[in-house]
């Protein structure tokens, strides 16, 4: 068997494409349970907000965030073949990113001081959607981009159509995360 340079180039391209696809599928598989976990927390938190007066919206979130953080730690500690210290580093990076996102949301509230309570509910969903879009674009993981746009679109469209149900639209964004997590599992 003798190969031309065109055939060799085509074979190398196929190797690259398959390797990229494999690495991406492994990334989706790792991310999937985290999305499902945080989607459920998101649904519970915003579902509770839908039933509580605005001055009590903070109440459900503290325990839910604690549950989500502990759950994420537990997921990160699951034994996975081939993983060494990378899991701990990845978790630390995720925590730093989550902290930065919270700081950003707080700073925007401080700067613009919304006059109605509804933007307080909706804005974090927009930021979360944007974060998924950016993460997907940077890591070339198109499904994250689709999930981010999905969250953003559902929340914005719901807010525009029926702002009085903003908490439920935000909860629908959480449902989008759960569905996204299930979708990643099938990647």
């Amino acid at each position: 068997m003798t190969l031309s340079s065109e055939q060799a180039a085509a074979a190398l391209e196929e190797i690259d494409r398959t390797e990229r696809r494999t690495v991406r599928a492994a990334g989706y598989s790792i991310a999937s349970p985290y999305l499902i976990l945080w989607g459920l927390i998101w649904i519970a938190g915003y579902g509770a907000c839908a039933m509580l007066p605005p001055e009590r919206w903070g109440l459900p979130w503290l325990p839910l965030i604690a549950v989500g953080t502990l759950g994420s730690v537990a997921l990160g500690m699951r034994p996975r073949p081939g993983r060494h210290e990378g899991g701990a580093v990845g978790f630390a990076q995720s925590m730093v990113m989550a902290f930065a996102v919270c700081m950003f949301i707080g700073a925007v509230y401080y700067l613009f001081r919304p006059t109605s309570p509804l933007p307080y509910l909706i804005f974090p969903s927009f930021v979360a959607g944007l974060a998924y879009v950016l993460a997907g674009a940077v890591a070339r993981m198109q499904r994250f981009v689709a999930i981010g746009f999905g969250i953003f679109a559902v929340t914005l469209a719901g807010y525009a159509a029926a702002p009085q149900w903003s908490a439920l639209w935000a909860a629908a964004g959480g449902a989008g995360l759960v569905l996204g997590g299930l979708w990643l599992r099938r990647a």
Binding site: M1, L3, S5, L12, T18, T22, A25
Partner: protein, 120 residues
Amino acid sequence: MGGGGRRGAGARRPVAAQGLRQVAKPDEIIHQALRLKIMAALHAARAEEGIEFSRLKALTGATDGNLGSHLGTLEGAGYVAVAKDFVGRKPRTRASITREGERAFRDHRDYLRAIIESGG
């Protein structure tokens, strides 16, 4: 699950040092289109405990029969190890690349690169 094969003795020299003449034989087992994809996927996932059959099928775009047959060829050559177990009551088949397979795959990829570098 076995990491069956053996690593070749001594460190491998880079292709540029070996020259195309010394790696002039392609690996005909690996070069077949689907087997090349299978080996590329398993090589990319070599740090993991193999890839499940269904996922490998999706990654390579193969059919059940095709994938099984080509995995058999690669397993026969010592490049791939196939393990079967149960998750609960569900049977699971996983394939992983052996040391011998890793070496053969890298050599074949080096050969392809050398062809391009030498102008084919």
